[in-house]
């Protein structure tokens, strides 16, 4: 039997997953997406200093992410140094955005794959509160708060307007949490709506505006630092940021991390599904020197799921990263099948129909030294773990111990359990906690550096005659993002963005090796092909973002997920 899950309504094939299912298991899979491949056409001939303003419009979710990668690409081409204050301010934006994004992903975008809203209505709030208090010291786990959440939820259900909860597979046999766990999760879902806002307010203060930050510049940031002037980054604003950091931190550590562990413990089966491609790549991020050779967070490459194989990517000038990346189009709708380096990337469309053995996606297949790789928080956490990054090891061990304790395993879950659908969620929560600690650290570094009398935030870029090339990488919430720029006489000659979801959502490559989404779906259980909740769980665990960011109102078509079983 073949099932097609096509989550996109307005744009056919925006992200579509096809699976063959035999005897209740996935036996073959195809990931087909529509990916933005046009930014180079907008940017060609423009001033490289303006590129970030346009690239942050590529995606409605990853605005700051594309802005950061873009300025880094131009700075790399010009071999620039960036003032420390600018690095720290950018790093705080990166970290705060990542925290916001991870909280939203778990609670608002994927928790409802595991948590049954309707079941929460049957829960005993007192028992739910006792359960929550046994897991964490969070101050908002009271029976009173849980009772209010339940009443609010009941009112929503009674009104017939499920709104944000309208699309869930409530009552599906693969939903196994007790009503009390469901109620706890719903309460935290609502609290998450509050706390992700606080994380985003940090971005807004530093970026001058949100959703599109205004403060970046090739060569630094446009935030003048002056503790005496109201129009600049003042002490008052920095202290306000610190308050937000502290508030968000309690939620990440006492709620998000614990909830993920609880879901992981209850759905322990899901440590057996969804591994897929276990070559992992992440890039170092949060540079703490002016040249991008030292980073707060390490990155690198792990082969075959073995953390012992870790090889670091050490700097913005590391040829190991630059020379390893290629994209091919044997199974993508472009003319040239060949595996090409991003500097030489081609995007001449060649649409065929959806051909199982031929071309079936607009997404190209990227490879790293000819291997398929998985990117994202799991890759990031495993690489940082392998690199000996202390906070990552601490939070990973804490998560694994918490799962072990809730599941009554008599010890922590092994690290290898992370190569799985539920492992990607756990790793994202770990990364969120690590990012939070890093955010506090960057704040302290900024305060200290300003205190030492350094208020520099910008170095002026100088463009040479002739051609220069550069790349900027960024460990974005969904994984490795790289922008590649060719500059000729100070104007953009070519520009390519290799986005995280390309790595994960790409089709089979030139050697017919499956991409990470595809490989991860193999052997997934499917209890009811009409309601393939299990397929959605695994795809959602990657936090798929193929948003080419079109936003047109469509009054005729309100369908959210279309499922077709043949």
């Amino acid at each position: 039997m073949r099932i097609t899950v096509d989550p996109i309504t307005r744009i056919e094939g925006h992200l579509r997953v096809d699976c063959e299912v035999e005897d209740g298991k996935v036996t073959n899979a195809w990931s087909s997406g529509q990916m933005w491949r046009g930014i180079e056409l907008i940017l060609r001939g423009r001033d490289p200093r303006d590129a970030w303003v346009f690239t942050q419009r590529i995606c409605g979710v990853c605005t700051t992410v594309h802005a950061i990668a873009s300025v880094r690409a131009v700075e790399n081409a010009l071999d620039m140094e960036i003032p420390l204050n600018a690095q720290y301010i950018r790093n705080m934006i990166v970290a705060a955005h990542g925290i916001h994004d991870h909280i939203v992903h778990f609670y608002q975008l994927s928790a409802l794959d595991w948590v049954d809203i309707v079941s929460a209505l049957q829960a005993d709030p007192q028992a739910a509160s006792s359960l929550a208090q046994s897991l964490s010291g969070w101050h908002r786990n009271s029976a009173q708060e849980f009772r209010q959440v339940q009443q609010r939820l009941q009112a929503f259900v009674d009104s017939g307007q499920l709104g944000v909860f309208g699309s869930g597979y409530w009552g599906h046999e693969a939903m196994i949490l007790e009503p009390e766990v469901n109620l706890m999760a719903v309460a935290h879902y609502m609290q998450a709506l509050e706390f992700q806002r606080k994380a985003n307010q940090i971005v807004a203060i530093l970026g001058s505006k949100t959703p599109h930050i205004q403060n970046l510049a090739v060569g630094g940031v446009a935030n003048p630092i002056n503790f005496d002037s109201q129009s600049t980054l003042t002490l008052e604003r920095l202290l306000q940021i610190k308050r937000f950091i502290d508030e968000v931190g309690s939620f990440v550590k006492d709620v998000y991390l614990i909830d993920v562990a609880a879901v992981g413990a209850k759905y322990a089966d899901w440590t057996n599904y969804g591994a897929g491609v276990t070559n992992y790549m992440s890039v170092p991020d949060l540079p703490i020197d002016t040249r991008g050779t030292e980073f707060a967070l390490p990155g690198g490459y792990i082969s075959g799921g073995d953390v012992g194989t870790f090889r670091p990517i050490s700097s913005y000038h590391d040829d190991y990263f630059r020379d390893g990346v290629k994209e091919d189009a044997k199974h993508a709708w472009y003319e040239n099948d060949a595996a090409l380096h991003p500097y030489d990337g081609e995007t001449e469309p060649h649409y065929t129909d959806f051909q199982d053995d031929g071309k079936y996606s607009w997404v190209k297949a990227p490879t790293f030294y000819d291997e398929r790789v998985q990117v994202g928080p799991l890759a990031n956490v495993l690489c940082m773990y392998a690199a000996g990054h202390e906070p990552t090891q601490r939070y990973t061990n804490l998560a694994l111990e918490t799962v072990g304790s809730i599941a009554g395993l008599g010890g922590p879950l092994p690290v290898d359990a992370l190569h799985s659908t539920i492992g990607r969620h756990a790793a994202r929560a770990v990364r969120c906690a690590v990012m939070h600690e890093a955010l506090g650290d960057q704040w302290s570094r900024l305060m200290e550096n300003i205190g030492s009398g350094d208020t520099d935030t910008f170095n002026r870029p100088v463009f040479p005659a002739g051609e220069v090339r550069g790349y900027g990488f960024h460990e974005a919430p969904r994984g490795v993002l790289s922008h590649w720029i060719v500059i000729d006489d100070g104007k953009i000659a070519n520009y390519q963005a290799v986005v995280p979801s390309t790595w994960n959502a790409g089709p089979r490559d030139i050697n017919d090796a499956m991409g990470p989404y595809e490989a991860s779906l193999m052997d997934n259980p499917v209890a009811d092909p009409e309601k393939p909740l299990e397929v959605i769980r695994t795809v959602h665990s990657f936090d798929p973002c193929l948003a080419c960011a079109i936003h047109m109102v469509d009054p005729d078509n309100n369908e959210l997920v279309r499922v077709k079983a043949l």
């Binding site: 989550p7 046009g38 409605g60 605005t63 985003n200 960011a549 936003h551």
Partner: protein, 161 residues
């Protein structure tokens, strides 16, 4: 009376970005009272939640898919509006309907909701509006200004704009 005028759309895709162009023009041409905030929302979702919480009025300007000819201006208010924003672009992206739904869950949804939409002609890659839609820019701005004035806001044309 906190009020937001929110322009939505992708400015890289021709007429798709018309909502953003309208709010840019609104800010450039008019002096707005302090209770009104103009937001260029682009294609974002959850990032906007904080700015859209606890409003008295939300006016959304966006391209609108409709059977009517390109350039047709559509003006909707009330309950008809949120349902229009339910189409989700990707399994990741949360659109305006999710943000409004989330705000409703927290009892912070806008008290009044207005959509000023226009049917686009050309959604191909490019920064410019098509001539058909560019010709509607002024009427769209004026429609928003009329909405604001109808609700008692002091909105005055800037002297040299």
């Amino acid at each position: 009376m906190p009020t937001v005028v929110l322009g939505l759309g992708n400015i890289l895709l021709g007429d798709e970005g018309v909502g953003v162009r309208v709010v840019e023009a609104l800010e450039a041409r008019y002096d707005l009272p302090p209770e009104i905030t103009v937001i260029d929302g682009g294609t974002s979702g959850m990032d906007m939640m904080d700015m859209l919480a606890g409003l008295d009025e939300l006016i959304v300007v966006d391209a609108l898919r409709t059977d009517k000819p390109p350039g047709t201006i559509v003006h909707l208010t009330g309950d008809a509006v949120p349902a229009l924003f339910r189409t989700r672009i990707s399994p990741h992206q949360l659109g305006l309907s999710e943000v409004l739904g989330a705000l409703a869950l927290l009892d912070e949804a806008p008290k009044s909701l207005t959509l000023v939409g226009v049917a686009p002609l050309d959604l191909d890659l490019g920064m410019a509006l098509s001539p058909t839609i560019a010709a509607q820019l002024d009427p769209l701005v004026e429609r928003v200004v009329a909405d604001l004035r109808d609700r008692g806001h002091q909105v005055n044309r800037k002297r040299h704009a």
